[in-house]
Symmetry: C2
Subunit: 149 residues, 2 copies
Amino acid sequence: MLSKKSKYAIKALISLAKRYENKVPVKISEISEEEKIPRKFLEAILVELRNNGLLHSKMGANGGYLLAKHPEEIVLSHIIRISGGPIAMLPCVSLNFYEPCEECVNESTCGLRDVILEVREATIRILSKTSLSDILQREEGLKKKFNLI
Amino acid sequence: MLSKKSKYAIKALISLAKRYENKVPVKISEISEEEKIPRKFLEAILVELRNNGLLHSKMGANGGYLLAKHPEEIVLSHIIRISGGPIAMLPCVSLNFYEPCEECVNESTCGLRDVILEVREATIRILSKTSLSDILQREEGLKKKFNLI
DNA sequence: AACTAATCCTACTAATTCAATAGAATAAAT
DNA sequence: ATTTATTCTATTGAATTAGTAGGATTAGTT
Ligand code: FES
Ligand code: FES
């Protein structure tokens, strides 16, 4: 399961991606209300995203946040990793949060690990090719689908 | 991430699958030692697996556990669900642990949900076709691979 | 029948992670 | 100076996960 933190991070970035063309900083409180994310929690999340190069921030009056890259360049796998969520289902197959499995004698011949490795690859294949732009496009597609029928 | 409980459940079942042909009940303590799973925790896990039809148990002296089905018929997705782990990355796409996302106004037009739905499908495709037998076969394959090189 | 070896059952506790909050410090605009 | 923001540090509360304790029950053995 994705943590709320990760989900909020993604939601917040999608929200910013929608206004990417404006080039105007967006306030935390604005995102918070729009996406129904607890204000203070979102604050911490955005700082982390900024520290990891996904956002630019502007302090003071009329300050706020802006995407640091084009929405096409920000992909889900990256957001999830930054916001602390391992993607893999076991620590022994995680690229970024690797830890050996104490119980397994030999990692390289572990059958379970072998399967979970496949799952991870399938997951990452999708998450690392899906950008904020892709998500916005999907939303457009879904809206049409449900309006037109 | 898979919970330890789920991982232990899978490990325990693999261990039992290895001796499936013997048709002799296997003691908790035996599995516990072999797979390095805390005794009492494993106890609780095995009872749950039994209550869900994956194991048969025999009480008293010479008692223990046996697979209730052929190792080919027990698949990972089933084990994970029984041992309490949702497979999906978001509650809104989970078949067995579904819950709506409070923040998302309209589930059917949610772009994030749409992507995560794809991830879930890819994951389940693998987990629901992989049986205990498959895992044992993989282990054989991996052993050969690493012995022969 | 008594003894022993096992699962079964109920309840509890400890540990960790997750989610959220509080409040003061800093920065920029007017 | 005042206002409107982000930033930083620290803490708290809630929930979940992981693991434990101890006695009841069942079945085989002598
Ligand atoms: S090495 Fe991780 S499950 Fe075996
Ligand atoms: S409905 Fe679940 S993420 Fe939007």
